[in-house]
Every structure is written in C-alpha cells, then in structure tokens.
C-alpha cells in the first residue's frame, strides 16, 4: 500500500503486530496502545524502533511519558467518517508536543488528507489515492481561517500582519 510522507512516496519499514501475534526479535514494530502500556519497559528497551497504533477510542494522553521514545504513531481510521483521529492528532502535536512521524492508516481518502495534514499528520498510508492526487489535495486551498497543528498562519492573523498584534 503506498505510503506518502512529506510530499514523497516512501518505503514502509514498519510492520503492525496485532496483540495476539508474537513480536519478532528485530525490525520496526507497531503495537496497539494496550500492548505498549502493558509491556512498555520491554518494548522501549528494544534495539529497534517501536511505534504505536491508536484506535479512535484511545486516549492520546496515555502516551505522554513515552513520546520521546516512540518512532512512529499511527492513527487508525476504520471508517473515514469517524473523525476522532483528527482530535487525537491535534492533541498529540499541540498539547503533548509530539514531533515524530504521525501517520494516518486505514480508510484514508484523498479528500480527507488536507484536513489530516492540517491536524498534524505528516504521513498517509492509502490505497485510494496516488502521490499526484495527494499533492493536489493538499494544495487546494490557499489559506485557512483558523490555526491548527500544521502551524499555518490563520487568516485572522494574516489580515493584520505588520500591525501590532499581527
């Protein structure tokens, strides 16, 4: 499945390991939040990088103390109409200060990618959009009214650049 990060297609070196499967001794693994929290010391002591996959109902605050040791956070969209992942992403980026890779996985569609990107996602695993269409989707709007995790200047602020409060 194509993986697009920072405007380019990249190779996926990570593999997701469901709770019922055993962890291989090496390789970059992504585990569920439950597994991460129950085996944190073991997992984070590995020589290879560890990532976590959040489901929509997971609370991102539970990752707070592990963030600097995680190589990847995946946020899962089982259905693209379930928008909880956008709030998880905003919290991870803006509230908790996570700066590593934040990847959208699951039902990831071209027309949601701009909102995802604005909410803090920098990587998209998608079977339903190729690189050119993802790039197009991300450039469809020239400006945005409200601030978000992407750090883009809001229209509210842009209108007053140069004035005291700009």
């Amino acid at each position: 499945m194509p993986l697009i990060k920072n405007g380019a297609e990249i190779e996926n070196v990570w593999s997701f390991v469901p709770d019922e499967a055993e962890l291989s001794p090496d390789g970059c693994v992504v585990v569920t939040l439950t597994r991460l929290l129950s085996q944190a010391d073991l997992l984070l002591a590995r020589n290879t990088a560890v990532g976590v996959r959040l489901m929509p109902e997971d609370d991102p605050h539970l990752l707070a103390e592990h963030l600097d040791r995680l190589g990847l956070i995946e946020i899962s969209f089982p259905k693209y109409t379930d928008g909880r992942g956008y709030s998880q992403a905003q919290l991870l980026r803006r509230r908790l200060g996570y700066s590593g890779e934040l990847r959208a996985v699951g039902h990831v569609l071209r027309d949601q990618i701009l909102y995802m990107n604005r909410s803090g996602f920098d990587a998209f695993e998608t079977a339903r959009a190729d690189l050119p269409s993802v790039l197009e989707a991300m450039s469809e709007f020239s400006s945005f009214y409200q601030p978000a995790a992407d750090g883009a200047r809001s229209v509210f602020a842009a209108r007053h650049v140069g004035s005291q409060e700009g």
């Binding site: 693209y80 109409t81 379930d82 909880r84 949601q112 020239s142 009214y145 601030p147 509210f156 409060e165």
Partner: protein, 552 residues
C-alpha cells in the same frame, strides 16, 4: 453587512474548484457514491426523492439585494422558478442537476455566497435573531460574532467529521428569537462591567429525543469565545456517541454524561489549552469585522408618521398588515417588516424568482439594502421608514407577499414532508394548507393573536414541532398517515418541549380539531393580550386536550 476581502473570496473560489473536481471524479466513477456522499453533503448537495437538492448558506440569514437577485437567477435558470427558505435561515433549490452545481456555486461566489457546510456532520450555518441590528430590545448586535464564528468554523480541520451535525445560534436580545435553547450550542450575549461576553448553553435539540440546553457557562469573555467553543467541540468529537446516529447529537452526550460532569469535561479541556493552541484573534480583527455591521444611516424622524396613519385609516387591509407584520425598530419612525411567505393555501417558505426580484427592489428603494431570512421561513426588511410603508405594502401585496400573519396561526413552520423528503413518514404541506384554509380570515387570525403552529412530517423534527405552541407530527401507522398533536412547546427564553395530547388524528380531522382548541382558548383567555401559550402556562394543556378530542 459583511463584505469579503481577498482571503474570503479566494477560499470560496478554491472551494468551487475543489468541488468541481470532486463532481468530475464522481461522474467519471473514480469516487464511489459512498465516498462522494460526505463531500457533497458538506457542500449542501442532498439526494432527495426526485432529484439533487442544493442548500445554499445565508450566513445568519442576511442578504443584500444583489445576492437575492442572484438567487432569483439561479431559481429561474437552474430550478423550476422558485426556492425555499429554510429554518436554518438558508435557501434550498430542489431541482438542480448535479452536473450544473459547480456552475451554480460559481454564480454564488460571484456575489460572495457559497454552500459550504450546509449539510453533513460538521458545524452548520450559525443563526441569529432575524431582527438583529434593528430590534428595539437588543443589547447589542450579534451579527459580528456570528461572522467570526462562521469564519472560525469554515473548513475547521478537526471538526469536519463529527458524530453528527452541529448547530450554533446566537442572540443578544431579552426576548430570544433565535431559539438558542434548542441548539447544540446557544449563545446569549451579555455585558458585564463594560465587557462583552457569552452565556453558553449546550445540548439543546429537537429530533426524536428533544432536549432543552443546559447552561454550562455564565460568562465567557469575547476574547476567549472561540477557545471555549473549541473545547466544547473537542469534547464532543472525542466522546460523542458514534454507534447510533439517533444518539449521536451532543444533547445525548450531555444527558448521558450529566450536566455537571459535562461542564467539568469542557472546563478541563479549556484549562488545558496551552498558549500555542489559543486562537490568536487580534483585537484589530474583532474591530474590523464589527465595522461592517455599523447601523445604517437613518434620517431622524418623529415617532409617528402622518402618511402611515392616513394610509391605515384609508385602507383596512394595510391597517391589518401593519398591525401584524411590523416589529419595533430601535430608531423612532422606522419598523422592521416581515415579508410573509405564508400565503393562505400556499407552500410555507417558497419564493418564486419574481418575488425575490420584488423584495430585492424594495430593499434597494426603501430598505437600506438589507434583507434577512427568518427561521420561521419569511423574509425581513429590517429598516423601513413608516413614511414609506404604504408603498412597500402595495408592492408586496401585488407580488402576493403581504399576507398579514406574522406569528399568527397561519404563519406556520412546515417541513417539506413526504412530498419531497425521503425521510418523511407523512405529508406536511397539505396539512398546513388545510389548517390555513380553516382559519382563512385574517381578521379572525388577528383576534386569535400570536400562535405558532409547527409541522414535521417525521420524528426528525425539521418542522420544529416540539417547540410549536401547537406542534403537529406526521406518523405512519400501517400505511396510513396520522398526526400527533402537542401543546405548550416554545423556543424562546422560556423554551420548553410540547406535551403530546393523545392519539394521532387523521389529516382531515386536524383542522376542525384545532378550530375547537382555538375556540376553547378564546373562551379561557382573560383578555386579548393573553396569548394561547400564556393560557397553557396558566392552566396547563388539559383543557386543550379535551377540546381536541371533543368531536361529535
């Protein structure tokens, strides 16, 4: 009114181009209907029983004549010559072809309009008092904050896929004409020690489980409003139910969590916002937006107008209309005019392209280029001099727009019902028409006084039946339409949900039954000023239930 700057104009144009691409990909089969659906919905495109329907946003219900003429043009060229004012102060076109919608959106963008977020599980058009900026009883003008909320909520990346749709209403008058207590968020503007702020109500709503909103904050200062709204939205987006669409509105989250616990969640989220998350809304920006809403320059006039009084004495039809359809203006010698879209026997809220042209002309000639859509599906000319009133009346009358029934029994809110909507269980329009015919005499309606009848063709309550003084809900029982009657609902500052009277009635039995109810009311009122709803408040619904079922 607000005018687009280059940012607003470009964002709306970007949206048209984006949607044009989405329609092309849909027509080419690249987008599946399931994937296209939320995209078209967030652009106001519904699939109705007969065709696609396009819902155009009219932010907080305000239009200028140029915009209204453009809507007339769209009605003429892309629809069957009419449009339909909605209870969200928007307009719907019922017969637009999908392939034409991008072109229609371009025509809208030409006059600073759009269809953004008029549907879908996102933040919808913010509504307000249709007399905002004109009403004698308002503390301040709520429209600038409606515009700020419009901008903040437009394409908000975090809140485009909420559990369910989300509606915000704002009022700044003692008498709430914006129904804020039956909205997902209702804001009541207050002034405290020279500071402007908002009383915040959350979790009101209608539908199959009606709720009156809970007050979650007494006073949020204006500079923190957007941050507070983000806190509410984030709590809702994270914790609102997604397992059942009928339990997905924020009212269910509030009631299942408990008001106290919900308030704590919002307060905790608001407190946790870090400096970097706060929305930088410069004071200069607040002032820039407010400047667009400066009151019109109205020439000073005496409180009474000789021309107005003369015309009333000479023309009883005008006198009746002036008594019913004028609302007190903050400036002496002026009034706000309700342009009734409820002709007896007509379709509530429908306007032809010709009628739109007439209202646009009147707004230009006599109304300081200001037009509003009310949530009761009428148009308003908010600033008209009493001296000009007779001219305005005669032109409206010639266009079939001068029915003297504002807030009277034939000024009903009626959803499209089974005639148009694929959710409906029963027809609404014919029932409304039959009631209007039963009470056809405008003199009689004037004597009955204010009485809101609201009709919905299904439990989703688009016709606001829960908050009608008399509510009518169409239900289907074994293939036959029945109508359940409620009494005592209201949407104002004393908001409450109407009580079901008893078994449903057949369509043909509704008008005579309501006739009996109204006669009972007239017998019970202590004076003419005591409205139907006041009598319900004083005596309860029992006498009216009895009258409803008192057929021979």
């Amino acid at each position: 009114m607000y005018r687009y700057d280059e940012f607003d104009a470009q964002i709306v144009r970007d949206r048209v181009n984006q949607f044009r691409g989405q329609v092309e990909r849909r027509l080419a089969g690249e987008l599946l209907e399931d994937e296209f659906k939320p995209l078209r919905l967030q652009n106001g495109v519904y699939l109705q029983l007969h065709a696609y329907m396009l819902r155009v946003a009219i932010p907080y219900g305000q239009l200028n004549p140029r915009q209204l003429r453009q809507l007339a043009r769209i009605a003429r060229d892309y629809d069957k010559g009419y449009g339909h004012w909605t209870t969200r102060q928007n307009i719907q076109f019922n017969w637009v072809a999908l392939k034409d919608i991008p072109d229609v959106l371009d025509l809208l963008a030409d006059v600073e309009m759009h269809a953004i977020q008029t549907s879908g599980n996102c933040i919808r058009n913010t509504t307000t008092d249709h007399f905002a900026g004109a009403a004698a009883d308002e503390v301040m003008d709520p429209r600038p904050w409606c515009e700020i909320i419009r901008q903040w909520s437009t394409f908000h990346p975090e809140f485009a896929f909420l559990p369910r749709k989300f509606k915000i209403a704002v009022t700044a008058a003692g008498h709430d004409r914006a129904a804020i207590r039956v909205h997902d968020i209702g804001l009541h503007m207050r002034e405290r020690g020279g500071q402007v702020g908002f009383e915040v109500h959350v979790g009101g709503g209608q539908g199959r489980t009606p709720h009156i909103a809970a007050k979650v904050a007494d006073f949020v200062p204006e500079g923190e409003l957007l941050d507070y709204l983000e806190a509410i939205m984030r709590v809702y987006n994270r914790f609102g139910r997604r397992d059942n669409k009928y339990k997905a509105r924020i009212k269910i989250l509030v009631s299942e969590t408990g008001e106290e616990a919900f308030r704590d969640l919002v307060e905790a989220e608001f407190e946790a916002q870090r400096e970097a998350e706060k929305i930088a809304l410069p004071q200069a920006e607040i002032e820039r937006i407010h400047a667009y809403f400066a009151p019109p320059e109205l020439a000073g006039k005496p409180a009474t107008s000789a021309a107005f009084e003369r015309a009333k004495a000479a023309d009883p039809g005008f006198a009746l209309w002036a008594d019913a359809n004028l609302h007190p203006h903050k400036q002496a010698g002026y009034a706000s005019v309700t342009v009734s879209h409820k002709p007896v026997g007509g379709i509530a809220g429908d306007a032809t392209d010709r009628q739109m042209m007439v209202v646009a002309h009147l707004a230009e000639a006599y109304g300081h280029e200001d037009i509003r859509v009310s949530h009761a599906q009428n148009l308003i000319l908010p600033h008209v001099a009493l001296d000009d009133m007779y001219e305005v009346y005669r032109e409206l009358d010639a266009a079939g727009l001068a029915t003297a029934n504002e807030s009277l029994i034939s000024d009903m809110i009626v959803c499209p019902g089974l005639d148009y909507c694929n959710l409906a269980n029963a027809r609404s329009i014919p029932v409304g028409q039959a009631i209007a015919r039963e009470f056809a005499s405008l003199e009689d309606q004037a004597d009955i006084g204010q009485l809101h009848i609201n009709i919905s063709g299904c439990i989703n309550a688009c016709g606001h039946h829960h908050v009608g003084h008399i509510g009518i809900l169409g239900v289907d029982r074994k293939g036959e339409e029945f109508y359940q009657i409620t009494f005592g609902g209201r949407a104002d500052e004393k908001a409450s949900i109407g009580q079901i009277a008893g078994p449903g009635l057949r369509a043909e039995d509704v008008p005579p039954a309501l006739k009996r109810v109204v006669e009972r009311y007239r017998a019970l009122r202590t004076e003419k000023a005591e409205r139907f709803i006041d009598v319900v408040e004083r005596l309860g619904t029992e006498p009216f239930k009895e009258a409803l079922y008192a057929a021979d």
